[in-house]
């Protein structure tokens, strides 16, 4: 059962119209029925009114007729003679005779005093009404007399010389009732009250009215009582007029039935008409609703929606046109947006999103394919030197060429500022390489731009999918990596090499985890002994950081420090290491070990203005002379930004710390510059020291460096000493500090006292051999 509120437009329309029609028809029908009923009732009442008037009129006329008859009687000479004779028997017989002539039912003769002279009836129990003569002028009097209604007429007898009154009575009889009944069409009864009981003495019912006296009741009849005995209320003489209710209403019932049938017919007809109209009215609305639904389906990419043909005009047509126009605009705009979303606006090729979508479809469907990527190596340079508009022309020319030569490509897309990707059906590896080389050649052919030939340098990469990348993320990353590698490669065409991406991921993970490692103390500090070469004594340790990664295992400092430099985390790392070393050193100094520290600084640290302040804070109140702290900086670090590096070094030097040039001999520092640096030490790169015993060239270089440093007033440290021979050579050449596995491996701070002890015991050995060798 659907509620009204759920009905559609047509349903509501039909319901409303039918309801309206029902209400109107029922109201009209009810009103008509009520009016008819009222009318019939009124008609009956009118009939009674007419009956009442007829009754009065008939009585009056009858009285007039009787009076005129009586007038004749009282002027009859014989009658007058009889009165004048004074003979009672004669008088009574004459009265009887003459009243019969007049049709009277009784007659009484009175003298002028009202005394009865003669009467045709015995007036014992039923005396004449009082004051009858006084009212003689009124014409007639209706009285109940002996249980019957009589009309009494009083006529003066005025013969010359005679004065008397003739009272004549006429019965209200059935004949009278009949006249009234036939004239008025009502049933007529004359009644009088006798002993407080209504008694009907004359009655007549117009035959066509039906009904018998037995059914008389107010339910059965419309009744009107007309008081007749106005002079004597006690007699309660009245005429009762009755109209048969049933007969009277018969016509009403007939009409009501007809009206009912009519109402029913109209109702059925109206409902039919309402349904047809509602159907007609709602048709365009339904069409529009279907049209709107069709538009909705089009949105979800189904069928096209054609606007319906409407037979109506006006608002609905306007609505349809608006819908159609809106839909058209919507579709155009959507197409535009879709195009813009999937196409590159400069070249008109598919864009990155379109390519990735197409690729994803292939990957999901597990359809192998080949991909060739192309990067314009010097686009930014072109943009810078020849303008962006020219750059765009270059891109367009490249795109046109790609379109021209690769019509079979699944997708040709510009996926980045200077990057194009071609998605192809799966080729064999060899065919793919051929294709890539062909592409490269095609682009080597000079482009014609603004009537000038122009050649671009390109890198081309290839990937076989899904072998080289199974997911979009892998794909995006690996294409990029391959391009990066290709840029550095000699061969302009490069295929993705498995593993390239894994290194990349490892670096990303290291960068990501480094901060947590610093905070959680995953970094461990190790210290490698540095010995005074002449004394053979442990004077300093170089702080080295180690990282035991939870999943990657040990990570080399070279790797994560260089990544920290790239990711901008190096300052945090430097600060952390400085603090850790300071804490450890305070520990062993407190144990009585007189060992200085050497800490490596990153090249980035030298351009970090906060570094001197950080060092000063970290080593405030240092228990040893500040010169026992050596900060090692690489030669290449000094070269990146010599001015700022020099500034930083000057500030550090002012703090009193020792500064050392690390890895000396591998960079390109000029000696003139070296002279100006506020450093106290050169540390010879271990590549010169590791094979010092066997390589005469290295010996030469090391000796030269030592001599030169000494000449400049700088101390010299050597690292990478793996055998005692090298140690003795360096000792012979006057090297100041030495460091290497032969002297001691890096160790935790806790092992330092033991190592110091061991080195102390070996001291004689170190110094003894030296004497022999140098000698």
């Amino acid at each position: 059962m659907r509620r009204l509120g759920r009905l559609g437009f047509r349903g509501r329309l039909i319901t409303a119209m039918v309801a309206l029609v029902v209400v109107v028809v029922l109201v009209i029908g009810a009103l008509m029925a009520a009016y008819l009923f009222d009318d019939e009732k009124k008609r009956a009442v009118e009939q009674l009114d007419i009956g009442a008037r007829v009754t009065q009129e008939v009585l009056q006329r009858r009285a007039d007729l009787e009076r005129s008859r009586l007038q004749v009687v009282v002027q009859d000479f014989g009658f007058l003679s009889a009165i004048a004779s004074g003979d009672r028997a004669t008088l009574i017989s004459a009265l009887d005779n003459h009243s019969e002539r007049a049709g009277a039912d009784l007659a009484v003769l009175l003298d002028t005093e009202g005394q009865v002279i003669a009467s045709t009836v015995r007036l014992g129990r039923f005396p004449l009404p009082d004051g009858l003569l006084d009212r003689a002028g009124n014409g007639r009097e209706l009285v109940a007399f002996r249980g019957t209604g009589y009309e009494l007429l009083v006529v003066p007898v005025q013969a010359p010389g005679l004065r008397a009154w003739l009272v004549a009575g006429f019965r209200l009889d059935d004949a009278l009732a009949r006249i009234i009944a036939e004239l008025s069409g009502t049933r007529v009864e004359f009644q009088t009250a006798m002993d407080d009981k209504a008694s009907t003495f004359a009655t007549f019912a117009a035959s066509h009215l039906g009904g018998t006296r037995e059914d008389v009741s107010d339910q059965r009849f419309f009744v009107r009582r007309i008081a007749l005995g106005d002079s004597d209320p006690a007699s309660d003489l009245h005429a009762t007029l009755m109209v048969d209710r049933q007969a009277s209403l018969q016509r009403y019932y007939q009409r009501a039935r007809e009206i009912g049938l009519l109402v029913l017919a109209i109702l059925v007809f109206a409902i039919l008409v309402a349904m047809i109209i509602a159907r007609t009215l709602s048709r365009p609305v339904r069409q529009l609703a279907e049209y709107a639904r069709a538009i909705g389906r089009v949105h979800t990419g189904d069928a096209d929606a054609t606007p319906p043909r409407l037979r109506v005009g006006g608002e609905l047509l306007q609505l349809r046109n608006t819908l159609r126009d809106t839909f058209t605009r919507l579709r155009d705009r959507e197409a535009h947006i879709r195009h813009a979303a999937t196409h590159d606006d400069v070249t008109g090729l598919a864009n990155r999103i379109a390519l990735l979508d197409a690729l994803e479809e292939r990957l999901v469907a597990n359809q192998p394919c080949s991909l060739i990527g192309l990067r314009l190596n010097d686009l930014s340079r072109i943009n810078d030197s020849l303008g962006l508009a020219f750059g765009d022309q270059v891109l367009t020319a490249v795109a046109n060429r790609l379109r021209e030569h690769w019509p079979t490509a699944l997708v040709v897309a510009r996926t980045g500022g200077r990057e194009f990707l071609l998605l192809l059906e799966r080729l064999s590896d060899a065919a793919q390489v051929d294709a890539a080389r062909r592409l490269h050649r095609q682009l080597q052919t000079p482009l014609e731009i603004d009537h000038t030939s122009f050649t671009v340098r390109t890198s081309v990469v290839t990937l076989q999918l899904p072998d080289d990348a199974g997911t979009l993320n892998e794909f995006r990353r690996r294409v990029n990596l391959t391009f990066e590698r290709a840029a550095r490669s000699d061969d302009p065409v490069l295929r993705y090499r498995p593993g390239l991406d894994e290194n990349h991921l490892r670096r990303l993970q290291i960068i990501g985890d480094l901060q947590g490692a610093i905070r959680q103390g995953q970094l461990a500090m190790h210290y490698q002994p540095k010995l005074d070469v002449s004394l053979g004594r442990l004077v300093q340790v170089e702080a080295l950081v180690r990282w035991q990664h939870p999943s990657l295992g040990p990570v080399s400092p070279d790797e994560f420090i260089s990544l920290a430099e790239q990711s901008g985390q190096i300052h945090d790392l430097t600060g952390h290491i400085l603090q850790r070393v300071a804490d450890d050193a305070r520990g062993w100094i407190a144990q009585g070990l007189d060992i200085g520290i050497a800490i490596n600084l990153s090249a980035k640290d030298l351009t970090w203005p906060a570094l001197p302040g950080l060092v000063a804070r970290t080593f405030a109140d240092w228990p040893q002379p500040m010169s026992r702290i050596t900060l090692e900086v690489t030669e290449s670090a000094l070269m990146d930004d010599p001015v700022r590096a020099l500034e930083t070094l000057a500030q550090l030097s002012a703090l009193g710390v020792h500064l050392s040039v690390d890895d000396f001999g591998t960079g390109y520092s000029s000696l003139a510059q070296l002279r100006q640096l506020p450093v106290q030490e050169l540390k010879i790169d271990k590549s010169f020291v590791l094979r010092l015993r066997s390589e005469p060239d290295d010996q030469l270089i090391v000796r030269f460096i030592i001599d030169m440093a000494h000449g400049l007033g700088l101390a010299v440290a050597a690292e990478g000493i793996e055998d005692l021979d090298s140690w003795h050579l360096l000792r012979g050449w006057g090297c100041n500090l030495a460091q290497g596995f032969a002297l001691g491996r890096p160790m935790p701070a806790a092992d330092l006292p033991g190592a110091a002890q061991t080195l102390h015991q070996q001291r004689a050995n170190l110094t003894h051999n030296a004497t022999e060798n140098s000698g």
Partner: protein, 213 residues
């Protein structure tokens, strides 16, 4: 008639010369003085009967009022071209002259005092009165409604004089109206009469036709 009345008055006045007194009566109704009212004293003395006649001419009695002493004979000659049936139902003298022309067989003797109303059975409009009187003190008012009667000692009742008044337009013409007057002062009496019937004297069409026969 005047001679008779004058004689009567003379005869009656003679013995009571010492006592006789003139009673002046004026009779009027709401409209003014009434002429023709029959005024009589109630005293009774023998008056000599007379011979009189009321003839019928043009369907009317002539005269329409006749005052006669008791025992007078009245003849009713018919001078119309139609027959008449003259009758009276008055108790003073009921009689009935069957339809006749010319002159009835015998005159009628009016032997009792009273008012006799005459009618014709075939002409209801014809009406006449005969006042049969037993006194000579009787007369009709003049045009000013005045009459003077001579009263004597026996006419007096408790210092006043009873009089009877009668007029054809009284409501009940069968009996005269009784009044008393003070003999020493002129009396003003009033009567209520029925309005004069509107009667055009010209004969109606039917009558005229009959006349033409």
């Amino acid at each position: 008639m005047k001679a008779v009345i004058a004689l009567c008055v003379a005869l009656l006045a003679a013995p009571g010369l010492l006592w006789a007194k003139d009673i002046r009566i004026t009779v009027r109704d709401a409209n003014g003085p009434l002429a023709g009212v029959v005024v009589a004293l109630t005293g009774a003395e023998p008056v000599k009967p007379v011979q009189a006649e009321i003839y019928q001419k043009d369907r009317q009695f002539h005269p329409q009022l006749l005052i006669v002493p008791v025992g007078s004979r009245v003849d009713f000659p018919n001078r119309d071209n139609t027959q008449h049936q003259v009758y009276s139902f008055s108790p003073a003298k009921p009689f009935n002259l069957k339809l006749y022309a010319d002159r009835p067989d015998a005159p009628i003797v009016f032997d009792k005092p009273g008012i006799v109303e005459l009618g014709c059975n075939i002409h209801d409009r014809m009406q006449a009165f005969i006042v049969v009187t037993s006194t000579s003190d009787i007369g009709q008012t003049d045009a000013d409604g005045r009459i003077t009667l001579s009263a004597e000692a026996e006419d007096m009742v408790d210092g006043r004089v009873p009089v009877t008044l009668w007029h054809p337009r009284l409501a009940d013409t069968t009996h005269p109206v009784k009044r008393t007057v003070d003999p020493n002062t002129p009396a003003d009496l009033t009567l209520e009469l029925t309005p004069e019937p509107v009667r055009d004297n010209a004969l109606d069409r039917l009558q005229r036709r009959f006349q033409d026969l």
